[in-house]
Amino acid sequence: MSQVPADLRYTKDHEWVRLGPDGTAEIGITDHAQSALGDVTFVDLPKPGSKFSVGDTFGAVESVKAASDLYAPVTCEVIESNPELDGAPDLVNREPYAGAWMIRVRITDPATVAALLNAADYSATL
């Protein structure tokens, strides 16, 4: 069974959001998602300052099997992309919730946070 930490929020597209106290958030993909993708070889991430509305494609994860788009779980502006993932994309497989955060963002429409799922609701979709 895949892990679903209780302190994160989720989307039905298998992204997680770690909400910060200051209106920022970290975004990554779930254990379920990395397991389904298999060996991740590259993560295509946006530049700082890029702006996305909820549901926009903000990047892609390449695995040996397929490329999978990443969708913005909230409306946001990118503060930074995780520099570690360029040299070690397999962090996504090894530490989906820790080392493999993908982007850190400033949430520009807080109302979009309300639609995120909690851990129990996300687990129920798996």
Partner: protein
């Protein structure tokens, strides 16, 4: 296709080994066990054991058997000796591919044809259609056989642990028949779809579980891993082998796919001969190329290929090559642009230059 996918005789073993099972060509097949890259490297460095029981088989026998296979195969079969196999394509009259197959000569008037899973029913119907008027029987043996592919530099050593030395086929595309791991009625063929040395083993379906366990046990100390369809795809792409529905199809002929060596115009007649000869002489409208990218993004099937601002083709297959450490792939490119210096592929809005590869990435 809402029908539940079929299961191979090795399904319980896949479950036991923790495989990830996916639907493929009407079958529930393992795409990976431990990881595609690890399984890929195991085949290049030691060995991998694949369940390829989804592949189809047809037996062609009778006084007209040779006439039938010569009629439908692009490759030449009269000179094929008993105990040997040959790769061929079956073509439509317009030169498009019905399937690519391996033909085993079991006896003077008896052949076993190995078919792609997705095409097996179509192929058997095709063979029967062309058998009209001949004294020949086309027997559907898809359910009779399980198939294992034992591939890698240690394959021969592993086979020798579970079978008599006389069962090791002496050279590539030779085959033997006998007992594997005590299971009789097997065919051991020195063939494969990985670019690594190794064997494809046809077993009676009821023998498959015992034989697979014996091979895994014999091979584990040498580094053998069970390997899935994911690694099979990246291995075959590195080796430059076509996959039906990608590099060859009803719309891509063997001439376009660079398989002209398996099309023998010296034969007076076979289905598709005239169309293929016109392509071979006049040049086909488009050709399949192999490429690598100096990038981290992978060009997938359907990605557009450009020469300057002009779209001149599309990607047919693409993956990350574990052996060369780069994305590799194949593309269908319009005649006149195959040699363009500045071909590029569009991946999510990025134009990535293609490096055309003249030869496969392994061997």
């Amino acid at each position: 296709m809402s029908e539940a996918p079929a299961r191979t005789p090795l399904h319980p073993l896949h479950v036991e080994l923790g495989a990830r099972l996916v639907p493929f060509a009407g079958w529930e097949m393992p795409v990976q066990y431990t990881g595609i890259i690890e399984e890929h490297h195991a085949v290049r460095r030691a060995a991998g054991l694949f369940d390829v029981s989804h592949m189809g088989e047809a037996r062609v026998r009778g006084d007209g058997a040779l006439t039938l296979v010569e009629r439908v195969m692009t490759n030449e079969m009269t000179s094929l000796r008993v105990g040997h196999a040959r790769y061929s394509i079956m073509c439509q009259p317009d030169g498009g591919c019905v399937d690519d197959v391996i033909v085993y000569r079991l006896d003077d008037a008896e052949f076993l044809v190995c078919l792609n899973a997705a095409n097996a029913a179509k192929d058997i119907a095709w063979l029967r259609t062309h058998a009209e008027g001949l004294d020949v029987e086309v027997v559907d043996e898809c359910a009779r056989w399980a198939q294992l592919a034992l591939q890698g530099p240690c394959a021969e050593q592993i086979l020798a642990k579970v079978a008599d030395a006389s069962l090791t086929p002496p050279r590539r595309f030779a085959f033997t028949t006998g007992k594997v791991a005590g299971e009789s009625g097997c065919i051991v063929s020195r063939t494969g779809y990985t670019g690594a040395p190794g064997f494809e083993i046809y077993l009676p379906a009821s023998s498959a579980m015992r034989a697979a366990r014996a091979l895994l046990e014999a091979g584990r100390p040498l580094g053998l891993l069970p390997a899935g369809l994911g690694a099979r795809d990246s291995l075959r792409l590195e080796a430059g082998y076509p996959l039906y529905g990608h590099e060859i199809s009803e719309r891509i002929s063997p001439i376009q796919a660079g398989l002209g060596w398996a099309v023998k115009f010296s034969k007076p007649d076979f289905v598709g001969r005239e169309a293929l000869r016109r392509q071979a002489e006049g040049g086909p409208p488009s050709s399949v190329i192999m490429f690598s990218l100096d990038d981290r993004r992978i060009a997938r099937q359907g990605a557009a290929v450009y020469s300057g601002d002009l779209q001149v083709g599309e990607v047919l297959s693409g993956t990350q090559s574990p052996t060369v450490g780069k994305p590799i792939g194949t593309a269908l490119v319009a005649a006149g642009h195959v040699a363009d210096a500045a071909l590029a592929v569009d991946i999510r809005g990025h134009r990535i230059p293609l490096s055309v590869a003249a030869t496969p990435f392994v061997k």
